[in-house]
């Protein structure tokens, strides 16, 4: 029989200690993760921030961001003063004090000047690959979630796409190398010797030559887009499916076509999800080294990508520097010393700032869109 007095507990609530322990363990694990992340960030910030930020106005070392990357020359002059000059100013120095003796000269590749080249290259690679990936990815997601019949074949495709997301990026790098760099067709009057196949077009000696795009911005963008496509497709499809079925029914019931329904009643509501996942994809695209190593990136390049071109389209077929590849070069391919630390930690710090601002951007964007389109 029901006894109201039983509603009052004697002692602590039942499961009190279990709840406490569970809570404590979960909180502990969370903070361990936070601690590791904090240590990592603290190290990079402590070593990298002084490179980019200055104590005096304007507080930011814009030169590091806007100057070209150069070799660093370190030497002592006759008075015993130590100079650290990037190659161009080193030459000015030599010209100015012609004949003055120099002692203990050392050179450090890639360690002088700034990182304008890598920043610009990464920006171009990211924009190009995201445009490609969003175009193909959202289209595929719309087809898969809105048009395709849910047949075993479509399920197989979906599964294949999901699995593609798990393939290591170096594999995409090699794929991009063998396909985009060496094999895709170009239309040219002068096919290269290693063309796999040439098809005459009978227009002014032009032929379609399967010779690839060489290591170039567009080969890199295409490779990065392939790498990120599965993520974009899967996330976009999920966002599309999350839109309540009722929206589609209501729109169709009012006489709208399928495409009108998708454009007006489905896409806008899935946009926050699509954009968030895309921005996360951007951070991945911007950060990968392996896919661009063979397809687009060079360690050293004197000009910025748009300098010294005959036509603006040549930018697509030129190689670029890229931040992650630059960091790899600085870390692994030059001997480390106190004079290389500025370039090393500065690059990593700038890269971290970039990724962090993209993440924050995605959060803000999502919050804004969410508050506008709520259901």
């Amino acid at each position: 029989m029901f006894n109201p007095e039983n509603l009052i507990r004697k002692g602590l609530p039942k499961g009190h200690f279990k709840d406490l322990v569970v809570r404590f363990v979960l909180a502990g694990l969370t903070y361990v993760v936070v601690l590791i992340a904090a240590l990592l960030f603290a190290k990079i910030i402590m070593d990298g921030a002084p490179v980019l930020f200055k104590a005096k106005a304007p507080f930011v070392d814009f030169e590091f961001l806007t100057a070209k990357n150069e070799t660093l020359h370190v030497f002592d002059d006759a008075q015993g003063n130590r100079h650290q000059l990037p190659a161009s100013r080193y030459n000015d120095y030599l010209a100015k004090y012609e004949g003055a003796p120099i002692f203990n000269e050392q050179t450090y590749s890639y360690s002088g000047g700034g990182i304008a080249g890598p920043i610009v290259g990464t920006a171009l690679l990211t924009i190009g690959s995201m445009v490609l990936a969003l175009f193909f990815g959202v289209a595929a997601a719309i087809y898969l979630s809105e048009y395709a019949k849910q047949s075993p074949f479509i399920h197989a495709i979906r599964l294949a796409i999901l699995n593609l997301a798990g393939i290591p990026s170096i594999v995409f790098g090699l794929f991009g190398f063998s396909v985009f760099v060496l094999a895709v067709p170009v239309i040219t009057p002068t096919p290269s010797d290693r063309s796999l196949l040439t098809i005459p077009l009978h227009i002014n000696h032009y032929v379609m030559s399967f010779q690839g795009w060489n290591s170039s911005l567009m080969a890199g963008c295409a490779t990065l887009a392939c790498m990120i496509l599965p993520v974009i497709i899967t996330a976009s499809e999920e966002s599309l499916r999350a839109v309540p079925q009722g929206f589609r029914d209501a729109s169709l019931a009012m006489g709208a076509t399928r495409w009108q329904t998708i454009r007006k009643c489905v896409l806008p509501f899935s946009l926050p999800g699509i954009l968030t996942s895309s921005l996360l994809a951007i951070t991945r695209v911007a950060g990968e080294t392996a896919p661009i190593m063979f397809t687009a990136a060079v360690a050293a390049k004197d000009d910025l990508p748009w300098q010294g071109l005959k036509s603006p389209f040549d930018i697509l077929s030129s190689q670029v520097q890229a931040l992650p590849y630059h960091i790899y070069t600085l870390a692994a391919r030059i001997p480390s010393s106190e004079y290389t630390r500025r370039a090393q930690y500065g690059s990593v710090f700038v890269f971290l700032l970039l990724v962090a601002s993209l993440s924050v951007g995605s959060m803000i964007l999502r919050a804004k869109l969410r508050s506008k389109l709520k259901w």
Partner: protein, 255 residues
């Protein structure tokens, strides 16, 4: 109103979600072993009041009792030393949208018993069967107790939720528009069920369907803008309302 013992006594209750005051000075006495209906236009606070009885509003940040008290069989349920799990075991709840778990029919009904630590199969079997019988669902599901609950029709799923709520014999059953998502036949089944259930349980039902209130409730409270405008026996409230607002509402002139 037929006077029996009081199941829930509400004294001058005021309730707010953050800065938004939703219930104003509500006082009611809900008799045991009867069906009490809450009616009123959408947003007047019926669900909020109902959800105060098992303190499920506690989960909502900022939600708080700003004045008054609720006594369940003379125990103030907002005391700090209330055993919340026990309270909710004694006060079952059925929601507007049927919400079975993604488990088998059997596991749905056995959920509360297992949560209370009763896991002996032979005991559970009997209780599950009994609960399903009381919810008038047994004959339809006895051959597929271990199939997923999602294979049932809407009306069956809602009756499963009722079976789930009464499995450990609560004292009071709260139902928030239990038929709102159901067709008339399924609704009829649940109404029939109510008249059976009230022999054992105190039932409080929120409904938008005035005919349903007249058909199945003994007492009715009419709420408007967070206040109880009128409370009395269902027959009196519908046929001879004292307040002009009640009259307007029950005759369909507003709301």
């Amino acid at each position: 109103m037929v006077k029996t013992s009081t199941a829930i006594q509400i004294n001058n209750l005021s309730f707010a979600y953050g800065a938004k005051q939703v219930l104003h000075d509500v006082s009611l006495e809900i008799p045991a072993r009867q069906v009490t209906a809450f009616i009123g236009p959408s947003g007047c606070g019926k669900s909020t009041l109902l959800r105060c009885f098992n303190r499920i509003n506690d989960r909502i940040p900022g939600a708080k009792l700003t004045a008054g008290s609720i006594l369940v069989h003379d125990i103030d349920i907002n005391r700090t030393d209330i055993d919340l799990q026990e309270l909710r075991r004694r006060i079952g709840m059925v929601f507007q949208k049927y919400n079975p778990f993604a488990k088998s029919i059997y596991d749905n009904v056995a959920f509360s018993l297992r949560a209370a630590g009763r896991t002996k199969r032979s005991v559970l079997d009997g209780i599950v069967e009994n609960a399903l019988k009381n919810a008038a669902l047994w004959d339809e599901v006895k051959s597929r107790l271990h199939a997923s609950a999602f294979g049932l029709s809407g009306g069956q799923q809602q009756r499963l939720c009722i079976a789930r709520a009464i499995a450990n014999q609560p004292e009071i059953l709260l139902m928030d528009e239990p038929c709102a998502a159901l067709d008339p036949l399924a609704t009829l089944k649940i109404e029939e069920l109510l008249s059976e259930l009230k022999k054992q349980y105190t039932i409080i039902i929120v409904t938008h369907n005035l005919a349903q209130a007249t058909r199945c409730s003994d007492n009715t409270a009419f709420m408007y803008l967070g206040k109880v405008i009128e409370y009395g026996s269902t027959m009196q409230l519908f046929e001879n309302p004292k307040e002009p607002q009640t009259e307007a509402y029950v005759t369909g002139k507003f709301g």
